[in-house]
Amino acid sequence: MNHTAPTKERAHPTPARYAAIALILAVITVVEVAIVYMEFLRPVLIPLLLVLSATKFAMVAMFFMHLRFDDRLFSILFVGGLLLACLVIMALMALFSV
């Protein structure tokens, strides 16, 4: 039997902390919807939306999926797949000049 070092998992956040994170996510969603109605933000709308959605994505992954508190190998696996997916999207869009 292999005896390896203990996993690097830390304690999960409390329910109150989870609720606070959900509140932040809800606020970001409201902001996302609100800014599409603001004409003066049109020139920067797409970058803004991408930043906001990336923030939500990261918060769900780090806190709800517990990546922040878990072993690094899980992050490497998931982020690796995510990066590959993003690269494919960008490469295809560049290839077809979108």
Binding site: K56, F74, M93
Partner: protein, 205 residues
């Protein structure tokens, strides 16, 4: 009946990485699923604006309606993580409540998607109407299917818990279900932005 809460720190696994095989497999699966949705999103973006005939996005999308749908799915992520927290603390009643709540919110989301699809069809947008219809239905259809599978998984765990066959020691099962559910939520975060919100200025104007 409440069991003693499980420890926060995992005991080392008898594996070469010290990590649980099932958890590693779930993360590997989610990484592969990223690539599936990446290719579907890429297809949608590549064909965006290339439909020869309508209906077009700005003619069918209802941003307020989809925003509520997005909010429902986001809140289901909260209830899912509360279910995990409950079983980790030995609170089996809390687990059942939050599992059921997550499944219900997921069902509301899928129901909303179905209603949205029927509205689109009524307005003349079907799978083979134009490029927009094809890419939209395939992308959101795959996502909706993922959500449906997640609901089935959650309800299965709910039934097992109701029968008293789920114990706090088996919290990893709920954690794995949670990972899948949160992934489905983050995919919708991306789809909501890239498919719906980006079209919003065309709808408003």
């Amino acid at each position: 009946m409440s069991h003693a809460p499980s420890t926060a720190h995992s005991a080392p696994e008898a594996t070469s990485t010290g990590l649980n095989h099932r958890k590693l497999l779930m993360w590997a699966f989610l990484a592969s699923d990223c690539m599936l949705f990446g290719s579907l999103i890429a297809s949608y973006l590549l064909y965006r604006g290339n439909s020869l005939v309508g209906p077009y996005p700005h003619e069918v999308f209802n941003i307020p309606y989809t925003s509520i749908s997005a909010f429902v799915l986001l809140m289901s992520s909260l209830t899912m993580v509360l279910a995990l927290s409950a079983i980790q603390r030995g609170n089996m009643r809390g687990l059942k409540v939050w599992l059921l709540a997550t499944a219900l919110l997921g069902t509301v989301f899928v129901g909303g998607q179905y209603f949205e699809f029927t509205t689109f069809v009524h307005e003349g947008l079907s799978l083979n109407t134009n490029l927009f219809g094809t890419t939209l239905y395939v992308l959101t259809g795959f996502h909706g299917t993922h959500v449906t599978v997640g609901i089935i998984i959650l309800l299965s765990f709910f039934v097992v818990a109701m029968r008293g066959r789920l114990t706090p020691k088996q919290h990893l099962n709920i954690e794995l279900a949670g990972l899948y559910w949160h992934f489905v939520d983050v995919v919708w975060i991306v789809i909501f932005t890239v498919v719906y919100l980006i079209e919003a200025p065309n709808i408003i104007d």
